[in-house]
């Protein structure tokens, strides 16, 4: 059994120790041989980071530069295995690359964008295929790999308002947390407050709201009725309810 607890994650003890040591001179044959021998390692490590949306070429370049840095900093006298040392340095540099590019912010945006793209692709494919598309088909249509598609679908749910999440619960479709809203719709339909707000929505959105909250159809039933996917219906409902909520909600306190 092995453990790495003493060294900690990338960029820590081993790397620091090596930086303090005498590096091999840049024209050292041994250094060049080490770099050549471990180019495959750099490529393999770059591939491990592929799912983050950066082109492989860029990642390989970052990893290769990090490999050279590793060789420059490496001191064979220390008895540390070069591959282990280089792996830490390369992974550290790859992570730094993403950090420097503001990846955390872009990642969430990328997921949101993919989620939106999936919505469009779902609608298009549903019409083309006459059925809901599979993840593999969505993957092919958007160019995102299947894992990213699944992740975006899951993550996309998280970007919706909490009350809409509740509306998609399998066990209790909408009544639990939107129940009072349904009653509200029944009552408010005849009220002056809702009519103008509803009127601002496209006719199709008004119909979908009516089917869902007045006629009590499920999202899948609505999808079948109007010839789009359930996912698309879900998105339209979310959007419509948010518009209505914005229009009907109280003014924020000054």
């Amino acid at each position: 059994m092995t453990a790495s607890g003493e060294d900690g994650p990338a960029g820590s003890t081993v790397e620091r120790e090596a930086q303090e040591n005498t590096p091999l001179p840049p024209d050292n044959v041994e250094r060049d041989a080490m770099i050549t021998k471990h180019l495959g390692l750099a490529q393999q490590l770059a591939r491990r980071f592929l799912h983050r949306g950066e082109p492989l070429d860029d990642l390989v370049q970052v990893a290769s530069v990090a490999l050279v840095k590793s060789a420059d900093r490496f001191d064979p006298e220390r008895g540390v295995d070069f591959a282990a040392f280089a792996t830490r340095t390369i992974i550290g540099e790859l992570k730094r690359h993403f950090r420097d590019k503001g990846w955390a912010v872009r990642a969430s945006r990328r997921v949101q964008e993919l989620y939106l793209e999936l919505g469009h692709a779902t609608s298009t494919l549903t019409q083309q295929l006459g059925r809901n598309p599979t993840v593999a088909e969505l993957s092919a249509a958007t160019g995102a790999d299947e894992e990213a598609v699944i992740e975006a679908i899951e993550a996309g749910k998280g970007y919706r308002a909490a009350s809409i999440d509740a509306s998609e619960s399998e066990d209790d479709p909408i009544s639990a947390r939107l129940g009072h809203l349904e009653r509200g719709f029944d009552i408010a339909e005849d009220r002056y407050l809702l009519d103008p707000a509803l009127a601002t929505l496209p006719m199709r959105d008004q119909s979908i709201l009516r089917m869902r909250f007045v006629e009590g159809l499920t999202q899948s039933e609505i999808a079948t009725a109007i010839g789009v996917s359930q996912m698309h219906v879900s998105r339209l409902l979310t959007s419509s309810l948010e518009k209505l909520r914005r229009q009907m909600g109280p003014e924020p306190a000054q």
């Binding site: 092995t2 453990a3 390692l41 491990r48 282990a84 992570k95 894992e147 699944i150 992740e151």
Partner: protein, 141 residues
């Protein structure tokens, strides 16, 4: 667990799937969800996604990929997430690790060393178990 959107100290999640490399995606997806709900930031989450894939590869080394299941267990503690991955039910098919397999194993070990705070692997006649611990930088969500 009180908040349905978070995982708290002592919460455990298990996942079992056939020991096949193409299904490791399941482990990565579950690791994402659990990491997020256990309060890890997005960089730590990505580390854990990558690490859990390597953990599965560690456990798969020595099997012929036609027998057994991978059994993952995620445990949330006050300052860390522990993940173990055990290859079970593959005893008749456990293979000695080849030279290629040894290289792959070493690479996975090196990647884990760079991504998590502790990790290990143990193989006996009946099972292979790999484990990792990743400490959280921020407070428990």
């Amino acid at each position: 667990m009180t908040d349905p959107d978070t995982l708290g100290v002592g919460d455990r999640v298990g996942l079992v799937f056939p020991a096949r490399g193409d299904l490791v995606v399941l482990a990565r997806l579950v690791a994402s969800v659990i990491s997020a709900r256990a309060g890890f930031d997005i960089e730590e989450l990505e580390d854990l996604r990558l690490a859990v894939g390597e953990l599965c590869l560690l456990a798969l080394q020595g099997s012929d990929a036609r027998h057994g299941d991978l059994q993952l267990e995620f445990t949330v503690s006050a300052d860390a997430l522990d993940i173990s991955c055990t290859l079970v039910g593959a005893a008749p098919a456990l293979q000695p690790i080849t030279e290629d397999g040894d290289e792959a194993l070493q690479l996975s070990e090196q990647i884990l060393a760079a991504l998590v705070d502790e990790h290990g692997r143990h193989q006996d006649d009946s099972s292979v178990r790999a484990w990792l611990r990743k400490r959280r930088r921020g407070p428990l969500a």
